[in-house]
């Protein structure tokens, strides 16, 4: 009996395999491509060596004063000397553990909400999340729990960027959900109020909102009320974020199939049961990539606070650059460092966002 023996498979055509062919395919597939490759390589050859030399080879890594910067390259001593200010602002040195504690708590709650069992997550992680901004304020301020008082004038640096952005998005979450819900409401008054709120906070430059918070808001309160500057900024950031997130949620609402509403109705669930237990989880899942993208925008926009005199990371850098001990023109080093810090944060968040997007996207791709 003869068994069926398939022929051995043919090797791939010679002109499609091997390093040389790979190079030809990817770099020199046509005249135009060859020229482009050469042009880019030439540009890199011109730019890269001096850049690497300036950044690393002849850079100054030692010392913490300007006098230590003797070589031609970048003066990283500048960044080293100011690193504490960059991250913590002028918060008292002995009390830095409070900021670290708050940041740690933030990370812990984020991790907890990802690893905890779903019953615990709803009962513990979500209330903790919502309480976190207020707990952080209490810890950082110090007065209510008997620690030494640190005025908000001393809060600053990168930790302020992180904490403000986190505090804003945490409160914006429920708020924007309500706005988005209101926008879908059948009640004309509620709908129009929500539409006006959303469109106002989306349509006005965030800088104008900050100015409104710092110039106009004091006029709105009864005479003698003194609302802390940072608190006002937090309110403005939260409302701004809510406007954008409400639109994200609206997209999420539209993506939930109508059958889900009908099924919930036919089970006899009340409006809030339906909304919170059936619709909300699906909306959040669908809009997660966009929520993250919005958060990245908010996080980058916290640097705008420089303009109204809040000492976040970029304005600390500006202060350091004009410090009389460091008047050597270290702008490039300072900005590169701040850029790197922000870039790492924002890039990793956009990576997470696009990986979620890929997971949700089940359409056929090439």
């Amino acid at each position: 009996m003869r068994t069926f023996k398939p022929l051995p498979s043919q090797p791939a055509p010679k002109e499609t395999v091997g390093a040389v062919n790979w190079i030809r395919e990817n770099f020199f597939s046509s005249v135009g491509n060859s020229l482009a490759t050469l042009a880019i390589l030439m540009l890199l050859a011109i730019i890269l060596p001096p850049a690497i030399d300036w950044l690393f080879l002849s850079a100054n890594w030692q010392g913490v004063t300007q006098a230590d910067c003797t070589k031609d390259g970048a003066c990283w001593s500048f960044v080293k000397a100011w690193s504490k200010q960059f991250f913590y602002g002028s918060y008292p040195s002995d009390e830095l553990w409070r900021i670290n504690l708050c940041l740690l708590a933030l990370v812990a709650v984020i991790i907890a909400s990802n690893v905890l069992h779903k019953d615990w997550r709803n009962k513990i992680a979500i209330p903790l999340f919502l309480a976190l901004p207020f707990i952080s304020i209490v810890i950082l301020d110090g007065r209510p729990i008997g620690l030494s008082f640190v005025s908000t004038d001393y809060w600053g640096g990168f930790s302020l960027n992180v904490l403000l952005a986190a505090a804003a998005i945490i409160i914006a979450f429920p708020l924007s959900f309500l706005w988005a819900l209101g926008r879908r409401s059948d009640m004309p008054m509620i709908r129009s109020v929500c539409v006006i709120l959303i469109e106002f906070f989306r349509g006005v430059p965030v800088l104008a909102l900050f100015f409104m918070g710092s110039v106009m808001l004091p006029l709105f309160f009864p005479e003698g009320t003194n609302v802390d500057k940072l608190l006002r900024v937090w309110i403005v950031l939260t409302l701004f974020m809510s406007g954008y997130m409400a639109e994200v949620f609206r997209g999420g609402f539209q993506a939930v199939p109508k059958g889900q509403y009908e099924a919930a109705d036919s089970l006899g669930l009340s409006f809030w049961q339906k909304t919170l237990l059936i619709i909300l989880p699906q909306v959040i899942k669908i809009s997660m990539p966009n929520i993250l993208a919005t958060f990245v925008m908010l996080f980058k926009n916290t640097t705008f606070l420089l303009i109204i005199g809040i000492f976040e990371m970029l304005s600390t850098t500006q202060t350091a650059l004009t410090n009389s001990n460091w008047l050597g023109g270290h702008a490039t080093e300072g900005y590169l460092f701040v850029a790197l810090v922000f870039w790492i944060c924002c890039f990793s968040m956009s990576m997470i966002s696009s990986s979620i997007e890929r997971k949700l996207d089940t359409s056929h791709k090439k």
Binding site: N26, F27, S29, S30, N33, A36, T37, I40, L41, D186, M187, P188, M189, I190, V193, G203, V204, P205, V206, L207, A208, F211, M212, V215, M216, P218, L219, F220, F221, P222, E223, V296, K300, N301, T303, F304, L306, I307, L314, Q318, L321, A331, T332, Y335, V338, A339, F342, W343, C346, F347, S350, H364, K365, K366
Partner: protein
């Protein structure tokens, strides 16, 4: 016999959805009413205490401060109303340049993402990921304080053919000064644009009717350059160049672009360009690959596939995204205030507000302007969107 208890089909008063909605909305109106009442009364009391008179009279008083750059004649003797106009024009200028350049950069980089050349693809990805993920204000500062501030002084200016100069004070290039007869050239340009528009319409109609194609692009190109060129030759070139010259410590003549404008434009272009590139990439990716394969099997050339099959479909995804990017560019142009470019925000909310103290009126006017500008962009882009949207039966 039977005990028929009457079961009402209508719910009790509070469970009736209609009554409920009326109650909720009434509560909302009451709450809002109280909120606005307290805000207005507080504001009036506060303003009285600070001696601020509300109203728009301040717009007609003399401003008394200079502005770095103005597109219309302005000096310190003009009114606050004029400062509003100067700032508005500067905002429109930087937004327009930014939108045009960002669109070009964005489309080039977005399409480069699909290049056959690995190096070009990587350049596009690196550009997008770097400029998208760094705060815009930082980029503005970087261009202004690190790059442009490092340029040489006026005497050592970088120059291109001794007509374009770049130094720490700004960018100088020759201006065109119109002489008599220039109107003919302008008229020729207008005629060229109109005839191209008519030609395209005619060609499209003819193709729809008969299937015959007309070389619209090359003909348009010929008209666009041919007509004005002919006008130039017939009128004997009625323009003179105003070339910037080094006089004393600075350049005189020509057109000057101040470094603030350059830094802001560069930052807005690179930042928004990265987002537009992402939008273009998403748009092209959203076109199913089957479309390309189908077009190939019909025997279309690669360039025609891009032009006739991919781009028109990708535009449906790209245009709404472009709309929001343009709007955020306009809003982000307020960062001018950080480096002192005299846009609406710097001039009006900055200096004018400081001098007059009319916070409410000024912030209100400024917000209204950004609303109107964004509405206009939205309107134009929505019109454009309906023209590219899928026409379904």
């Amino acid at each position: 016999m039977s005990d028929h208890r009457q079961v009402s089909s209508s719910p009790s008063f509070f469970n009736n959805p209609r009554n409920r909605s009326i109650i909720y909305q009434a509560l909302l109106i009451l709450g809002l009413g109280y909120f606005f009442y307290s805000i207005v009364s507080n504001t009036l009391a506060n303003m009285e205490a600070r001696g601020i008179k509300s109203g728009y009279d301040f717009l007609f008083t003399t401003a008394g401060f200079d502005i770095l750059m103005s597109l219309i004649p302005y000096d310190a003797t003009h009114t606050y109303g004029r400062t509003f106009l100067v700032g508005l024009l500067n905002t429109i200028l930087v937004s327009t340049i930014g939108i045009i350049l960002a669109t070009i950069v964005g489309f080039v980089m977005g399409v480069a993402h699909f290049s056959h050349n690995l190096l070009i693809r990587k350049v596009a990805v690196i550009y997008i990921e770097i400029f998208r993920n760094i705060p815009l204000l930082l980029q503005v500062f970087f261009w202004y304080f690190a790059v442009l501030a490092a340029l040489p002084g006026a005497r050592q200016s970088l120059s291109l053919g001794e007509v374009i100069f770049l130094n720490v004070r700004g960018l100088y290039f020759p201006g065109l000064v119109a002489q008599t007869g220039a109107t003919f050239v302008y008229a020729a340009i207008a005629v060229a644009i109109t005839s191209i528009y008519l030609l395209r319409r005619w060609a499209k109609k003819r193709q729809d009717r008969t299937g015959q194609q007309y070389p619209v692009f090359s003909t348009s190109l010929a008209i666009m350059f041919g007509l004005p060129l002919m006008a130039l030759i017939f009128t004997g070139f009625p323009f003179t160049f105003d070339i910037p010259e080094l006089k004393g410590f600075n350049f005189r003549g020509g057109i000057t672009v101040i470094p603030e404008l350059m830094a802001l434009t560069l930052a807005l272009t690179m930042y928004t360009g990265a987002f537009i590139a992402e939008a273009v990439r998403a748009g092209i990716q959203a076109v199913p690959h089957g479309q390309t394969e189908a077009a190939r099997s019909l025997g279309l050339k690669e360039r025609r596939i891009m032009q006739l099959i991919i781009v028109p479909q990708a535009m449906r995804v790209i245009v709404p995204l472009l709309n929001s990017e343009y709007q955020s560019l306009v809003k982000n142009s307020t960062l001018a205030t950080a480096i002192g470019y005299p846009d609406l925000f710097t001039v009006f909310v900055g200096t004018t507000l400081n001098q007059t103290g009319q916070a409410i009126e000024i912030v209100f006017m400024t917000m209204a302007v950004y609303f109107v500008v964004n509405m206009t962009i939205s309107f134009v882009m929505n019109r454009f969107n309906t023209s590219v949207a899928l026409v379904e039966r």
